[in-house]
């Protein structure tokens, strides 16, 4: 049994100081329901993904839309919350538990640097190891040493993704940025400069998901099929203090096998560029190139729109923004637009098979979509 996405809703990512997080999420849900052409009363299950929006946030969102008595499930899985909730809904549909579900991710964030969350009095806080870009800076250090990846290639991820975001009206930053500007911005953790760190963002993204049975009755020529959905957690860092994205590769390879997908057949990818270097490592882990060649894909333009395999046409986390709980579903919304051919001037021509790679601490969640 397969699950299909028949509706998406996405608020603008950015700053929304005058809108409550509940209203923001409700807007995304209502847009998705309208996009799907279904009635709210038909929705049978509701998943609410967020990281720190408080207790029973999903129920608070439902109150804005109209309490209909359906099950409400709150999902927290750090920055992978959105995709994790989509996987839960997909499993429920595949199991035949329900035929129509809504998944929404949302976040309103504090300003400031992203942190690896620990209790205030833990040794990690005193030691200053909670600073999140640190772990990606260590991955960059290793990759540079091992493969000769350059700081220009790493910074080039931010240049590319900012260029893509210019064509995305929902993106937080829609301004081209030169390599010189990226490199000259304030150093955070060598070699990661400020513009190589995803911003803090307010935003919400929602998806309407249905079963094959529902699709047959309802009919939807714009439906997108979920051909693969998989979640794993980290081993290397938590067991061995080794900073890498092994979990992404392990997840991707198993999912390709299970879904019968060859990564060379992918047309477009959204990946979790929380910090610039993460995208280069993801190229390798997702099989878009061989190990050690990630930097080259940036240098030769392969992952720009119009290149061999466009990555983050939305602008990615770096430019579109990173509202933690909404990020994974923001990726899905972008890919659905791409597969429907509705992505406007950032359209990847003829996109039929797409992959979204979302990460959190310490998880990797990947979805493969097709039309």
């Amino acid at each position: 049994m397969s699950a299909y996405i028949i509706g998406i809703g996405l608020t603008k990512f950015g700053r929304h100081p005058d809108i409550s997080v509940e209203t923001l999420a409700a807007q995304a849900v209502l847009d998705a329901v309208e996009d799907a052409g279904v009635d709210w009363r038909q929705v049978q299950e509701f998943y609410a993904a967020h990281v720190s929006q408080g207790v029973a946030a999903g129920q608070r969102v439902i109150k804005e839309i109209g309490p209909s008595g359906i099950p409400v499930v709150n999902v927290e899985n750090c920055s992978a919350a959105g995709s994790t909730a989509l996987r839960e809904a997909t499993m429920g549909i595949r199991a035949g538990e329900y035929d129509l579900a809504v998944v929404v991710g949302f976040e309103k964030m504090q300003h400031g640097i992203l942190l690896n969350v620990h209790p205030e009095d833990s040794p990690e806080v005193a030691m200053g190891t909670t600073v999140l870009p640190m772990r990606f800076a260590l991955m960059a250090s290793t990759h540079r040493q091992k493969y000769g990846t350059t700081i220009e290639q790493i910074a080039g991820v931010a240049v590319k993704n900012h260029a893509h975001a210019v064509a995305n009206p929902k993106a937080q930053y829609r301004k081209e940025m030169s390599l010189e500007e990226v490199l000259a911005s304030r150093m955070i953790c060598d070699p990661i400069t400020l513009y190589q760190c995803s911003p803090t963002t307010d935003g919400a993204a929602a998806v309407v998901l249905c079963s094959e049975k529902f699709l047959r009755q309802h009919g939807d020529a714009r439906a997108v099929k979920i051909v693969g959905s998989s979640l794993v957690s980290d081993i290397d860092e938590q067991a061995h203090n080794v900073f890498d994205l092994e979990m992404v590769g392990r997840n991707a390879r198993a999912l390709y096998e299970k879904a019968g997908v060859d990564p060379r057949d992918l047309d477009v990818v959204e990946t979790h560029d929380c910090f610039s270097v993460a995208e280069i490592l993801a190229y390798e882990q997702l099989g878009l190139c061989r190990e050690g060649e990630g930097g080259r894909l940036i240098a030769d333009g392969s992952t720009r729109i119009g290149g061999r395999i466009p990555v983050n046409p939305s602008g990615g986390l770096l430019a579109k923004g990173h509202p933690l709980g909404a990020t994974g579903l923001g990726q899905i919304a972008e890919l659905v637009m791409q597969l429907r051919g509705e992505a406007g001037s950032r359209q990847v021509a003829g996109a039929k098979l797409a992959l979204a790679s979302n990460m959190g601490m310490w998880s990797s969640c990947i979805h493969i979509l097709s039309v």
Binding site: D121, V125, A126, G128, V131, Q145, R186, I188, P191
Partner: protein, 144 residues
């Protein structure tokens, strides 16, 4: 009123007989895996038969970064160097590097465990760090 500072010591450090700094790790009795910090179960085979093991001696820097924006709660010197240090060929340690200018560090540098005092929420906090194992001439004294 006492002016005496509270000093709490990280559970990760110990001293050897000569007063040198050692790291409190563990070793699995079932499969021999060494680990840092100690865990309830082996990180390789999940056996509960893990016993304390002090780790020391020279290590090697395998990756490092200079942190130039402090996270909330960190009150030590700025900037500071965080690194991965490999002990033997199997135990990786996330650690501060001290006693070199940040820019002077290189991947492959040999290092020895030492301690570092940082301001904590409840007074000073003593934690593990690594310092250069090379000739004293390379030690600049900065960032101690």
């Amino acid at each position: 009123m006492s002016l005496q500072q509270t000093i709490s010591t990280s559970s990760s450090i110990a001293s050897d007989a000569a007063g040198g700094t050692m790291l409190r790790g563990a070793q699995c009795r079932a499969c021999g895996q060494r680990m840092f910090p100690a865990r309830l179960c082996c990180v390789a085979c999940f056996s509960r038969q893990v016993e304390p093991l002090l780790l020391g001696g020279a290590g090697k820097v395998t990756a490092f970064t200079v942190v130039r924006q402090a996270p909330p709660g960190y009150g030590g010197p700025m900037p500071y160097v965080l690194a991965m240090v490999l002990l033997g060929n199997d135990v990786h340690v996330l650690t501060h590097l001290v006693q070199h200018e940040p820019e002077a560090w290189r991947i492959g540098d040999a290092v020895l465990p030492c301690t570092l005092t940082l301001p904590g929420r409840q007074g000073d906090f003593l934690c593990h760090a690594f310092r250069p194992a090379g000739p004293p001439s390379r030690i600049t004294g900065g960032h101690a």
